[in-house]
């Protein structure tokens, strides 16, 4: 880790053959603060570990001699066709990882047919990011304290051609992220949430000793509630996904509120520590959805076999965050395209070896019961 990180590479060295390789290479291309910000999780980072452990605990069942001619990873989400079901998760402040930030991410993703979810806290204008890709982007929304500001963001996203809105609901407060705190993470002067310029933000609040650290801060007064979700649903006719739902009851309520999709997510382990891995909670949510709404998931996906496991558990598509950001830091748009290409190649190989010619062939039978 460095205060003067290495410049992004302009070619892909032989040593980078997996997402894990990009993770290992990334620290050299990031400031210590940025590495802490992107890689860290809340508390003791147990949710972060559970995300991997839940995937690692699953076993795949090979199948032989299936007919695989004409196999394909094509899928359709909300009427839009995608070459494969692996999207870029919303990640804030990507200019911390690369000078071209979200535009480089979109360029790389687009090159390999990957959809991208643009963060409310993007460090580049959402219009510029959306324009950098051939594949329709989605827009991730944090509901703003002022509803007009929320409406403005929705309008801009629609205008920029975004194909869906993903509202994040699992972060009414920041997680307690020790690595960031210890690294003294603050945004550098040239990186900011440029799409929120002019909008009211929550002042940072440090409670004096003896006062209620959070509950006394007033921060929660503006935290969105189910009522706000109902309001939001009425503000847009774009497909609306709710992100951060892991409880079956919450999923049921979200579906009743009219959402079109649910992203099963624990925010990459960055909010509440001690949660199960996403893969552990996906089946119950998928069962509630029962095909009425689309189910996406993120959390620990690093391999095409992980993607296949998530699909087998009921997901329609998966989001990857850190692998894409690390690749962005290491080799810019080229790195992003490469890591997404690797994930797709791994998915196709895993499908072939489990006898699945299409995503429709993927189901629970792909998972082995034996340990």
């Amino acid at each position: 880790m460095n205060s003067t990180p290495d410049a992004p590479l302009s070619h892909i060295p032989r040593s980078l053959v997996s997402a894990a390789d990009y993770a290992a290479a990334a620290p050299a291309h990031l400031t210590e603060q940025a590495w802490a910000y992107f890689s860290g999780g809340a508390g003791d980072e147990s949710t972060l570990r559970h995300n991997r452990e839940a995937l690692d605990a699953l076993r795949l069942q090979n199948r032989v001699l299936s007919r695989l001619e004409g196999a394909s990873t094509k899928c359709t989400l909300f009427g839009v066709p995608y070459a494969h079901p692996i999207l870029i998760a919303p990640v804030a402040y990507q200019r911390l990882a690369h000078p071209e930030g979200e535009v480089a991410m979109a360029t790389g993703a687009s090159a390999v047919g990957a959809g991208m979810v643009i963060s409310t806290q993007a460090s580049m204008l959402l219009e510029d990011v959306a324009a950098a890709t051939q594949v329709p982007s989605w827009f991730q929304l944090y509901m703003q304290p002022d509803r007009d500001h929320t409406r403005q963001l929705l309008a801009r996203a629609r205008q920029a051609g975004c194909a869906a809105i993903v509202v994040t609901v699992d972060a009414p407060v920041n997680g307690i992220r020790a690595r960031e705190h210890r690294a003294g993470f603050v945004l550098p002067a040239d990186v900011s949430a440029v799409n929120l310029v002019g909008m009211q933000t929550h002042a940072s609040f440090t409670a004096p000793l003896g006062a209620s650290p959070l509950f006394g801060s007033g921060l929660l007064t503006a935290a969105p509630t189910w009522r706000d979700l109902a309001w939001l649903r009425q503000q847009t006719d774009l497909p609306l996904l709710v992100k951060g739902v892991t409880a079956a009851d919450d999923a049921r309520r979200a579906i009743e509120a009219g959402v079109d999709g649910i992203v099963v997510s624990n925010h990459g382990g960055r909010t509440l520590d001690g949660q199960p891995g996403s893969a552990s909670q996906l089946p119950a949510v998928a069962k509630v959805a029962a095909g009425q709404v689309k189910i996406l998931v993120d959390g620990g996906v690093q391999r095409g076999t992980d993607v296949l496991k998530m699909l087998a558990l009921g997901a329609d598509a998966v989001l990857v965050g850190r692998p894409a950001v690390y690749a962005l830091a290491v080799a810019g748009a080229l790195g992003v395209a490469h890591v997404m290409h690797i994930l797709r190649a791994e998915l196709e190989t895993a499908m072939a070896l489990t006898g699945c010619a299409t995503l429709a062939d993927v189901g629970p039978h792909v998972l082995a019961q034996a340990p």
Copy 2:
């Protein structure tokens, strides 16, 4: 570890953002002997590990979009209101950790509204400790071989304003603590159980080879029994808690004996090695109590998420020992206030992210079933 430990800090460096950070920093501020005394456990220290493992094995279930306005951690114990349910556990000889010992601990705890349980083996006068805090203290009692001495301690505690008596029943003999033995721990000349001056104590006993090491010593003749608890109940009208109960049968019998509360505890892993973690044994005791008496618990709590887990398993409040002592060693009263503030902040964050606006909202549903 040092024979000349560092002086306590007078400010909080950025590197201290969790109780675990204080644990890591503490050895530099303690003699090797004091570190061995405070940190060690009995036998192979498996109970010590089980305390953490039992908490780590529990998973939290996030909930979204709940209404959190006016959230609070307030609670009432035996008619007394507390700002939050995190108390300082009774720990002996705190002057081993800091020159101002229990008074500094009480000062720090008081600053953040934390109750404190003063040990029979405090190294400062219980009256002085109780006077150092705005929050009512409790008094931890070891029943003395001479009942008059026990009565004297009860009278002094009441006189000093203590709000409850916590009688420890799980240590009729010392645990076998190898780290202390290897470090050659003995109390320094200027640290002693000042509240027991003039009272009969058990002579230290080393059995000759071939004799019964413990059973032949006579030490157990004066070990308190259920009959002594019945007697004790009649000696005070303060709320009486029994500490160190983990068996459901013992809990039942204690309730029949008229106690007002039970502290589920394995003495911080310092007596019987090989016990389950406190969090594993809490539910059975809470089930027996069924709301008739208050349930407190200690053992391995290092995070606000741990506090939340204990509450979800049936505790009304939790005690923290080592985290507070380590903070006392590192930065005196300021450190104690800081670490308790951190724990409360973590608890509030965890409550917000699990959709709990009050302690009454916390229940088993806060725990996820998925792994």
Copy 3:
């Protein structure tokens, strides 16, 4: 690991007393590339680990005072008697491990009565390999894109005296093997699949970024299907085994297709990552077989106790791959004979200590239920 590896030893040093010792010694006798090729697995190498974990999780039950006079490990497979049930698994390109490659392997195996399965991708002529052993060899077949080529291979194997055909069906595509990729593994100029000279092979295919990495390559068009297996069954009257089956349904279908045996295998963890260990999947396949066809198994066998566990789970015989290759690299034919002798000695000792005088005495009761 070396670019100039050590020559094979001509004697066995005292330090080599187990298959694991050969594994530890092998890297010094292999190029870095060859070591990566032989030792590596697909993906994160979890299948590789699961193979060991599944065996390690099994417990043996000792039995005492059984009558063991005249004990023996003899077995009969497809009418041919073998001194013991431990065969050499098919491994490609053994000249990467030793200048005399498969001939040295066959010589060593033959010296201790071990059968050997010659790979389609052998680096020496199958006729020469088969001629080097007294014990009937088997021939491992990859079905070729051109059926005439497959027929030619079958005819040569029969002519060379092979006693059975083992068709591998779990590798329609290559596994994604990071260690090989990072080591830059390519076959050296003097090592090739000499038995396939003149036959059509799949051109290596690297998809451009954005294209379907595998499904777009056309590689799968020629992947064998159940229809091809039915055709193959008609091309030979040698015993036909199908290798790479782990699903009960696939086993059922293979038996219906007329195979004489099934090799439960995950290809040594080299194709699909995330599979259970072979030992975990063996019982379900053995149950389907129900004695109608022979069951063989490979995957992680490193000890005679592993062999015994596999037999107890329903296998008629086991294959060992890496242990034999490592021994070949370390000490040529002598090493192969030695490591197979060790495995047999361990098997006999384990049989004696579990009270089994013959392979017929081995059954599920040999496995303990306790952990």
Copy 4:
């Protein structure tokens, strides 16, 4: 580890406060070969690990306020009173550990009231060993190929005052112990099985490559069977225990054969690798015994809490081997006395904290169900 090991200590340094401390100190006092011989296990030493894991997996349940006056560890085995239920297991060739070998062991054991089982392969005359202790010794018997020799050993043991015969039945062949092999262990010139002088022994046998390593050796022809046990039962009216039984069926058959006791044992992990820990197999054997015969157990006992767990699982007494041998190497008879004193002190403390005043109070309730 040394070729010239340190002399035994003549005092006990402060650093030795547990059996584990003796294990850590022992290598300095042993030749590399002797350390390999005493500490090693068969195969991958998994049985060795399972012995500890099975004990570590058990949890103790504390009990409070019980009446403990007059507590005691006294027990009676075959009519003979013992101060406590911890005996020295039979261990061969103790002169490898200390110049005074078995006599020093007996002296140390006797000093703390511990019974000792003298090995057939003792390196000192059994008469001399038996004479060195006040506590009646037992004699461990390997049945000899020549029945007259067995009878001679029985007669000598009775004459020397041994109180019981323990016939070992789980080692018809040697375990495959890699550490010994690698260390090149052979008995030094001045250490031998002096009690077997003049008796026929099995010639060491090394099978040529290609021959059956064990089954072809003839070694098993003389392996004792159930018929030999029946014969043995008729040769002595001393209490007869059978050692090495872990299967319930074998236990049943042994009881039918008229034994007076069973030692549940896996030979300290030195014969068959892959067995469960002794503590895992003890309950099933104890259930079969149902009080008809005495149950002893060895395997991994290093703490008084381990002793208590074994008693709770149904044992009447436990044997400790390695801890005593390591103490013998470190500090001779004094070390043996000390380590046995420690174990007894730990047992008494554990009994007090679980509310057991006598061994009769120990039962399954002492084990907690929680993890």
